[in-house]
Symmetry: C2
Subunit: 312 residues, 2 copies
């Protein structure tokens, strides 16, 4: 398998990306080829310094970088030689099997939608993020940003996408799905939730346990929490800020340390035709290593085919 | 002035309510008359035990209680002799000037809407909640639950209601208003936010500073954070659960202790024709005292008239 990395994405690129590659290759030598995309000169220097085995990698030069603040669609159009653009070209042409970047999140989303496209039968792909339960488990929150406005059918599809990721990548046999709402009873909530509830209930492919409230998200009430991307994005960023404050206040607590979303590596784009993983801007070596491992598992599990067969 | 309290509402009622009354009267003797609504026999015993000055109170018997789990509309209809029903009857008849309860939140909302009604010009009243900033300041989050689905005009009205509460009750001269969104630029977000942004920008009565993201809510970016009631409710309950976990994990931190929403007393229903304050189910004496003080200030500041004159 061939996993491509945008070496220029993220606040500490390319150094932390190279260190992540080094870490990954020190433990996984045989079956993975890594395609490193970025500034050839910079990368060659780092590859030498970090004694990266040239047999395990191939370098693809990218003369441009999409900066974090750039407008996604505009940047992708104008910077065809950027590491993200080239990454998606290679992926769409099946020259690589997965693509990872900690760069401009918007450009990664737009690139995924326009180059490798949504899987047949899926009207809106989504992004999942991990939520740490207070009993040590990890749940998945879907969607955290691709779809600010959703239809009830979208939420039902997000649920199934979450279930498949949870089952095949997180090894949870029969993951529980909950709808994030303002009350527990059916019929509660905004129009979207009122309409999504019966769809989720009727969806035979998921184990729907009903509505949960904001207070339940950290309590292992479900393995997959479903909501529109507006709500999910605000919740995720709010949770991230809790971790910032915990650090700021020098609180060293095992549970709140798990609010360090960087440790999970990155988040998968669910419902597109190839494995795409988006990392945090602040990704360090460990995060890059985790993202490569996630991509590897998605390929090994033939995750995309499993998604396709569930959305026929 | 005459402030009415539902003595039967809340998990520790009526004992903590009486202790709250005791605390309030020990510091505010002269100008406030308290109307205590609840079971006459229980209350008389407690009044004697706690040496409450009978000159400062009048007791109104209520033979029924709306329990926490009851359906609001149904309960209000069927339990006309409940403390909440009687509280709204007295308020609507101007026999009291404000009404406070830590009982069934839904029944308090429905009661406020149906008995004392929305102020002329306000299409949807809202509920505000405090959000503790990491620099020690308090912000107001509106709406946290009355309106799961909102129109852009609603958000603009919530903003002005928040500004008036912030100015006259929290003594913030020129409060900053922000729209909760998934990005900072105008044009970001769901359809609601895209349409609300220009309304907020054009609203001359508020100091609109633009969009903020989930990560900004605890960072004193604004004094009033506006969103639909679905999002606000989920955010508030999520924040409350953070405090639960902080306690559970024996973290004693000055900042996270301010996530104890009980310490703020209660939350005002904004945009109805009389002061109505809804307390937490777990309200203790200090919370009841704080709610009486909030009601007192709303009356002293002629808050309702100030709202009316801003919505002509």
């Amino acid at each position: 398998m061939n996993i491509a990395l945008d070496m220029m994405g993220g606040d500490y690129a390319p150094l932390e990306a190279i260190k992540g590659v080094e870490l990954f290759l020190s433990q996984n030598k045989d079956d993975v080829q890594l395609t490193l995309i970025g500034d050839e000169i910079k990368l060659n220097t780092l590859i030498r310094e970090h004694l990266i085995d040239s047999a395990s990698i191939n370098l693809v030069h990218a003369s441009q970088v999409i900066e974090m603040q750039e407008h996604p669609t505009k940047a992708l159009k104008e910077k065809q030689q950027s590491s993200i653009s080239i990454g998606f070209h290679l992926l769409a042409a099946s020259k690589t099997d997965a693509f990872i970047s900690a760069g401009n999140t918007g450009a990664m989303m737009v690139g995924a939608l326009y180059s490798i496209k949504a899987t047949n039968g899926i009207s809106r792909p989504a992004i999942g993020a991990y939520i740490p339960g207070d009993n040590g488990k990890l749940a998945l929150l879907v969607d955290v940003g691709l779809n600010a406005d959703c239809k009830p059918e979208n939420l039902s599809q997000f649920a199934l996408l979450g279930v498949l990721f949870s089952r095949y990548i997180l090894n949870i046999e029969n993951p529980r799905v909950a709808l994030i709402n303002v009350g527990e009873e059916e019929g509660k909530g905004n129009i979207l939730c009122q309409a999504a509830y019966p769809l989720l209930k009727e969806n035979k492919r998921i184990n729907f346990i009903g509505n949960v409230e904001g207070r339940d998200l950290l309590k292992d009430k479900a393995d997959i929490y479903v909501c529109d991307g507006y709500t999910g994005n605000i919740l995720l960023k709010f949770a991230e800020s809790i971790y910032d404050i915990v650090q700021q206040r020098n609180i060293n607590d095992e549970y709140f340390n798990r609010f360090n979303f960087e440790m999970y590596g990155g988040v998968p784009v669910l419902g597109v035709n190839k494995p795409v993983i988006i990392g945090h801007g602040i990704s360090t070596a460990g995060a890059f290593n985790n993202m490569i491992l996630m991509a590897k598992k998605m390929i090994e599990q033939d995750f995309i085919e499993k998604v396709k067969s569930n959305f026929v």
